[in-house]
């Protein structure tokens, strides 16, 4: 197992007391697996990524039974150990690629910074030459063929898709074992999104790189995704094999998201009303007791004020007292 997260709870102090923004989250990623984390905005999915990378400041209280990457405990790393893992074995790309690139550096300069010195040999000039060669290699690897033009460009001259490719290039400079992609395509037009997804799928196939893809929309996930985890308001609702989960959702939240998701609308008559969850996502100050979907759930019953445990059936996991589509085991 590459990444093993058990019962991760992240809390923040607010004027009204401590709030569990993320509650007992489980997430396991195997070697060479594409795992997609789906949740609406504010559900805490980026928080998981930040906790893995160690980006969270001290005002967040992180607790976990396990937060392991291979044999390293990510919660108790020395600064030196962290430097050897974060950015090398675990890399991350972000939503708004342009704002994560340094506006004052050319693409060549930024990518040269991403090349580790220990990989190079020889004297100063030889190393400089190697570094530049590596940058050109990286650009070719992300599908940018006209590298001479690109090398001297500044980030503001790039299109969104090209900027994201540069970010992928710098993320894969050390052949990471795990790439965390935090909504890399959510602001892109569909054609560019497919391009980026194809690129990621290619690295996954060629180098066996695991990918944790974070996405807002079930209709816009990579089709190579093997496993899905649905998260709502800081609680994991359901996880499992992509196809099984989409065909037979056990959790009402998955079902509701599937119904509202756009790719299923093609089967509906045009201009018909769409079934959707009523109401809005709860704010962190007013979290419902028990299952946080409760007030919006069509199947909710009194028992739902107790937090449901995370049940496992074969390789599917779900947190619901009244799961759907389970008749075959009855």
């Amino acid at each position: 197992m590459l990444l093993d997260i058990r019962n991760l709870t992240i809390a923040k102090d607010t004027p009204t007391g401590r709030v569990n923004v993320l509650e007992r989250v489980n997430l396991q990623i195997n070697e060479g697996e594409i795992h997609t984390l789906v949740g609406e905005s504010g559900s805490g999915k980026s928080l998981i990524a930040r906790a893995i990378m160690g980006f969270l400041s001290d005002s967040w209280h992180i607790q976990a039974d396990r937060l392991w990457f291979e044999e390293h405990d990510l919660l108790n790393l020395t600064a030196k150990q962290r430097r050897a893992i974060i950015g090398v074995d675990i890399a991350m790309i972000f939503q708004d690629a342009k704002s994560y690139l340094d506006p004052n550096l050319t693409i060549s300069e930024q990518l040269q910074e991403a090349v580790l010195d220990q990989d190079l040999t020889g004297g100063f000039l030889a190393r400089r030459k190697q570094r530049k060669e590596r940058v050109v290699q990286l650009l070719h690897r992300v599908g940018i063929k006209e590298h001479s033009n690109m090398l001297e460009s500044y980030p503001h001259e790039l299109s969104e898709g090209a900027a994201q490719k540069i970010m992928i290039a710098s993320a894969i400079a050390h052949r990471p074992k795990l790439l965390i992609a935090d909504e890399p395509t959510s602001t892109m037009e569909p054609a560019t999104r497919q391009q980026i997804y194809r690129l990621l799928a290619q690295f996954h196939a060629r180098y066996g790189m695991s990918i944790l893809l974070i996405s807002q929309d079930l209709g816009a996930i990579m089709k190579e995704t093997e496993r899905l985890t649905m998260i709502y308001s800081g609680q994991v609702m359901e996880s499992g094999n992509t196809r099984e989960l989409l065909d037979q959702p056990h959790h009402p939240y998955t079902e509701a998201l599937l119904n509202t998701s756009l790719y299923r609308q093609a089967q509906r008559p045009p201009r018909s009303r769409l079934p959707t969850l009523a109401g809005t996502e709860p704010s962190m100050q007013h979290l419902p007791i028990g299952c946080r979907l409760g007030p919006r759930c069509a199947y909710a019953r009194p028992k739902c004020v107790q937090t449901p445990g995370f049940s496992k059936k074969r390789d599917r996991g779900f947190a619901c007292h009244y799961p759907l589509n389970l008749e075959d085991d009855a």
Binding site: E189, P190, A191, D217, G219, P270, T276, T280
Partner: protein, 257 residues
């Protein structure tokens, strides 16, 4: 039937200066003509930089055209007469967070268009604001809220309320659904459909998502590089796209099912 909105040879050219004397002409929108029928929805699709937002800006009056004219109900719209235009053509933007004023309560924001465009007194304005809030599925209590106290979906509802409060004939929505979560997006789609059947408004709907367009629109325009590539009924274009570009645009939807 006479169309609600006629667009004739509308064009926009930007002049970019590069250097002391060099000037480059950028044709953001080449001469374009089309009609929008009353109570119908026209969708505009295209890649980034294809001129669809320029077109939306021109229709709503945010951008001055270089050439051409826009005719609403047989009456020619003057480029700088905002009062004439603001009552009939309203706009909803992509980023609800940024399009609301953080310093004003929701009630004050909704009252503003009424102050400038109608002769209603204070009490009548308040009634109208409450009525409009209820139309978009919010409560009268939301009048005293500030934008930061609301969720994204609620803010988009307020933007829609601000757009419909003057009973416009045409609503221009520029990617109004793009950044919303899928459950909220479905709620807003339902709201737009309900409002259209209640108020008999026309929509000009700019979107990149083939699924939303297929669900909402009657007619669709496909744009590329400032030109109209295809224009026709949604079913015709989606079932038999002529241009390769249109095919690639429509096929980009994921086939998970």
């Amino acid at each position: 039937m006479k169309p609600l909105l006629e667009v004739r040879d509308l064009a926009k050219t930007y002049i970019q200066r590069s250097g002391l004397l060099k000037r480059k002409k950028i044709e953001a929108l080449k001469p374009t003509s089309f009609n929008v029928e009353a109570g119908k929805t026209l969708a505009i699709m295209g890649a980034n930089g294809s001129g669809k937002s320029t077109l939306a800006g021109l229709i709503s009056g945010a951008i001055q055209p270089t050439r051409g004219e826009i005719i609403l109900n047989g009456q020619r719209l003057q480029a700088d007469n905002y009062r004439q235009r603001a009552q009939h053509i309203r706009m909803v933007f992509q980023d609800a967070e940024a399009s609301l004023n953080p310093h004003l309560t929701i009630g004050d924001q909704l009252e503003e268009p009424l102050k400038f465009n109608t002769g209603l007194n204070h009490n009548q304005r308040r009634e109208r604001v409450i009525h409009t809030l209820q139309q978009v599925g919010l409560l009268a209590e939301h009048m005293v809220f500030y934008p930061h106290m609301m969720s994204t979906g609620q803010k988009q509802r307020v933007s829609i309320a601000r757009a419909i409060i003057l009973n416009p004939q045409l609503l221009v929505a520029d990617e109004a659904l793009a950044t919303l979560d899928s459950s909220v997006r479905a709620q807003i789609i339902n709201l737009l459909l309900d409002l259209q059947s209640d108020l008999k408004m026309s929509y000009v709907f700019i979107s990149q998502s083939p699924e939303i367009v297929r669900h909402l629109a009657d007619d669709v325009i496909i744009m590329q590089d400032g030109e109209i590539l295809e224009h026709g009924h949604v079913d015709d274009i989606f079932n038999a796209p002529e241009h390769r570009y249109t095919q690639s645009l429509l096929l980009s939807e994921l086939n998970l099912s």
